[in-house]
C-alpha cells in the first residue's frame, strides 16, 4: 500500500532550447507567423494611409454627422436628404432587420410545412414538396430575386387594374397594399395579448402541478388558444376605445392609406423566403428522420398516443438535430438580405454603399458593414454553442 506522504513531487521539466525540442520549435513558428501577419498588416495600413492622404480623404467617423444629400426609398423612420449620414445608416439597419425578421418567420413556417410534407405518406404531396426543394435550392438567390422583382414590376398590372384577392388587399406593380390598424384600441388589444400570454404561462405551471399530484391531464393546448383569442378581444371591448382599419384606396394614380409593401421589399422577402425555405425543409426533414424508428415503436408499445409520442419523445430528439443548422439558415437569411442592393431595396449594405461612394470613406464604410454583420453572426454562434452544450445528450 503506497504511503502517499512519502511521494516526491515530480521534478520540473528541464528547459532545453535546442531545435530538437518541439516546444522551442513551436515558439519559433508562432513568432514567425505573428511577424508575418503583423508585417503584412502593417504594410497594408501604411499603404492605405498614404493612398488616402494622396486622395485627400480623411479617416475617422466625423463624416457621419454631415448631411446625407440622398433620399432613401423606404424605411421605418422618416428620412429626408437633409438628415445626417448617421440617420441614413440607422434607416438601413432597420430595413435590414425588418426584412430579416419577416424572412426568418415566414421561411421557418413554410420550410417546416414543406419538410414535413416530404415525409408524408401521400405520394402527391411528397413529390410536389421534393420538386419544390430541388428547384429552389439549385437556382442562385440573386437570380430568384431578379425574377420576383421583374414579375412584380413588369407583369403586375398598374394600380387601376390591381389584383384584389381579399378585401383591402391590392397587388399591383406599385407593390402590395394591405390594410393597417390604427387607434387607441390597438394598444388595448396588445395589452390583452400580453395578459393572455402571462395567463397561459401561469396556467401551464398550475396544470403541470396538478398532473404531478393527481395524474389528471389538462387540455392545455386548447385552453391557451381560447385565451389568446378571447382576452385581447375582451380587453379592447371593455376599454371602449376606438380602433380603425385604414384600408388602402385608389386615389388618382396610386393608393393612399393602409400599409404599403414596396416592390423591392416584396421581391426581397419572397426571394429570401422561398429560397431559404427549401433549405429549412431539408433541415427539418433530416431532423425528424434522425430519430430512430425504434423510438416511435417503443413509445407506441407503452400505449402512448402518436401525438404525445411526437411531443414527448420524437420532437425533443429531433430538435437537437434541427436547431444548429436552422440557426445557420437564419444567419444566411440575414447575410443574404445584403443582396438587396441588387434590386434597390435600401438595406444596410445598400445605404452604406451609397455613403461610401459619396464620401470616399471606403474603409469606415466597409468596417461598419462588417461590424454589423459580425455582431449578428457572433451572437448567433455564441447562442448556438451555449444551446448545444445545454441539450447535449449525456453519454459515457
Amino acid at each position: 500500500m503506497m504511503n502517499l506522504k512519502n511521494t516526491v513531487a515530480a521534478p520540473a521539466p528541464k528547459k532545453n532550447f535546442s531545435w530538437n525540442n518541439p516546444a522551442t520549435r513551436a515558439i519559433v513558428y508562432q513568432v514567425l507567423a505573428v511577424a508575418l501577419v503583423g508585417g503584412v498588416g502593417w504594410y497594408m495600413v501604411h499603404n492605405t494611409l498614404h493612398n488616402l492622404s494622396v486622395r485627400n480623404i480623411t479617416t475617422g467617423f466625423d463624416f457621419l454627422t454631415r448631411e446625407a444629400g440622398f433620399a432613401i426609398g423606404e424605411g421605418l423612420i422618416t428620412f429626408t436628404p437633409a438628415d445626417t449620414y448617421q440617420r441614413a445608416i440607422t434607416v438601413g439597419v432597420l430595413n435590414t432587420l425588418r426584412v430579416a425578421l419577416c424572412g426568418i418567420l415566414f421561411a421557418t413556417i413554410l420550410g417546416t410545412i414543406i419538410g414535413i410534407a416530404r415525409l408524408s405518406k401521400n405520394w402527391l404531396v411528397r413529390t410536389v414538396a421534393s420538386v419544390y426543394v430541388e428547384v429552389m435550392r439549385n437556382i442562385p438567390l440573386l437570380l430568384q430575386l431578379f425574377f420576383w422583382y421583374v414579375i412584380i414590376i413588369e407583369t403586375m398590372p398598374g394600380p387601376r387594374k390591381a389584383f384584389h384577392p381579399l378585401a383591402g388587399v391590392f397587388i399591383s406593380n406599385r407593390g402590395i397594399q394591405i390594410p393597417s390598424v390604427h387607434g387607441e384600441g390597438l394598444t388595448w388589444l396588445l395589452v390583452g395579448l400580453l395578459l393572455a400570454v402571462l395567463l397561459s404561462l401561469t396556467l401551464r405551471v398550475w396544470a403541470r402541478r396538478r398532473q404531478d399530484q393527481t395524474g389528471k391531464i389538462f387540455a392545455l393546448g386548447r385552453s391557451t388558444l381560447v385565451l389568446l383569442l378571447v382576452t385581447p378581444a375582451l380587453a379592447w371591448w371593455l376599454s371602449g376605445t376606438q380602433m380603425s382599419l385604414d384600408v388602402p384606396e385608389l386615389k388618382g394614380f396610386n393608393f393612399a392609406g393602409g400599409l404599403t409593401l414596396s416592390p423591392e421589399f416584396a421581391a426581397l422577402l419572397f426571394g429570401l423566403v422561398i429560397y431559404t425555405s427549401a433549405f429549412i425543409a431539408e433541415v427539418v426533414r433530416s431532423g425528424i428522420q434522425s430519430v430512430d424508428r425504434g423510438q416511435w415503436e417503443a413509445a407506441g408499445a407503452l400505449g402512448i398516443k402518436n401525438s404525445l409520442v411526437l411531443r414527448l419523445v420524437v420532437l425533443p430528439q429531433a430538435l437537437r438535430v434541427i436547431i444548429p443548422p436552422m440557426t445557420s439558415q437564419y444567419l444566411n437569411i440575414t447575410k443574404n438580405s445584403s443582396l438587396a442592393v441588387a434590386i434597390g431595396y435600401p438595406d444596410l449594405v445598400s445605404v452604406i454603399n451609397t455613403t461610401l461612394n459619396q464620401t470616399g470613406q471606403a474603409i469606415e464604410g466597409i468596417l461598419m458593414i462588417m461590424a454589423a454583420y459580425l455582431t449578428v453572426s457572433l451572437s448567433i454562434s455564441f447562442f448556438m454553442n451555449w444551446y448545444n452544450k445545454r441539450i447535449a445528450l449525456v453519454e459515457r
Partner: protein
C-alpha cells in the same frame, strides 16, 4: 382454449408479395411462458409484433384478453396498455433519465400522479437490480443495464402480457446472463404471461411451458421444452436444432 389471454386464428400477413405469416393459429393461456424460435426470416418477430399492432395483419383474427385487434385506435391503445414489449435494441429514450423513461408511460397513459409513478418505478428498478442508476441517462449505461431498464419500463405499465423480441441478441456475451436472470426471476416470482423470441435455449429449458418452432411463416412444431429438444418430430425442427448449440 377457453379464457385464452391471447388468441390468434388463421392469421396471415404479407409484405407486398412476400407471405410472411401463414395461417397462424395460436392460443396462449394466462400465465403461460412461451419461447418462439426459428431461423431468421421465419416470421417470429413479426408474429409477436402483430400482437401489439406494431405490425398489421391482413387476414385472420387476433384477440388479446377478448379485445380483438382492428383498425379501431381505441382497441389498439387498450391492448398496448396491457401488453408490454422489450426490444432487441432496447429503444430507451436517450434524452430522459432512467427514472423518467420509466415514469413516462404511467404519467401520460395511466394518468398516475408523479410521486406514485416514481415510487413504482423505483420498485421495479430494484427488482431488476439497477436502482442506483435511476438518475443516469441511457447513454451512460452498458447494454445489459439498458436492457434491464427497458424491462423495468415495460413492467411499470403493469401489463398482463410481456413480449420479448430477441432481448439478448444485441448484447455482448457477458451481459446476456444478467438479462436472462432478470427474465427468469420475472417468470418465477410473478404469474406473468411471457412470449419470448430468442435463441437462448437454456432459458427455454428452464422457464418455458411451451417451445414453438417457426419456419417460413408457419408454426411447424410446438411442445414442452423437454419433448421439443429431446424428441423433435419434424425434419425441419431437427435440422434447426442441429444447427444451434444448446
Amino acid at each position: 382454449m377457453a379464457n385464452a389471454i391471447i388468441s390468434m386464428q388463421d392469421v396471415n400477413k404479407w409484405y407486398g408479395k412476400f407471405h410472411v405469416l401463414r395461417n397462424i393459429n395460436l392460443e396462449v393461456a394466462s400465465g403461460e411462458r412461451i419461447v418462439i424460435c426459428g431461423p431468421s426470416g421465419s416470421g417470429k418477430s413479426t408474429l409477436i409484433r402483430c400482437i401489439n399492432r406494431l405490425e398489421e395483419h391482413q387476414k385472420g383474427r387476433i384477440a388479446v384478453e377478448g379485445t380483438e385487434i382492428t383498425n379501431d385506435i381505441r382497441h389498439v391503445e387498450a391492448i398496448r396498455r396491457d401488453v408490454g414489449m422489450v426490444f432487441q435494441h432496447f429503444n430507451l429514450f436517450p434524452h430522459l433519465t432512467v427514472l423518467q423513461n420509466l415514469t413516462l408511460g404511467p404519467i401520460w397513459v395511466l394518468k398516475t400522479p408523479k410521486a406514485e409513478a416514481e415510487a413504482r418505478a423505483m420498485k421495479y428498478l430494484e427488482r431488476v437490480r439497477i436502482a442506483e442508476q435511476a438518475s443516469k441517462f441511457p447513454g451512460q449505461l452498458s447494454g445489459g443495464q439498458q436492457q434491464r431498464v427497458a424491462i423495468a419500463r415495460s413492467l411499470c405499465m403493469d401489463p398482463k402480457v410481456m413480449l420479448f423480441d430477441e432481448p439478448t441478441s444485441a448484447l455482448d456475451p457477458e451481459m446476456v446472463k444478467e438479462v436472462l436472470e432478470v427474465m427468469v426471476k420475472l417468470a418465477e416470482d410473478t404469474g406473468m404471461t411471457m412470449l419470448v423470441v430468442t435463441h437462448e435455449m437454456g432459458f427455454a429449458r428452464k422457464v418455458a411451458d411451451r417451445v414453438i418452432f417457426m419456419d417460413e411463416g408457419e408454426i411447424i412444431e410446438q411442445n414442452t421444452p423437454d419433448a421439443f429438444f429431446d424428441h423433435p418430430q419434424n425434419e425441419r425442427t431437427k435440422l434447426f436444432l442441429s444447427q444451434i448449440i444448446h
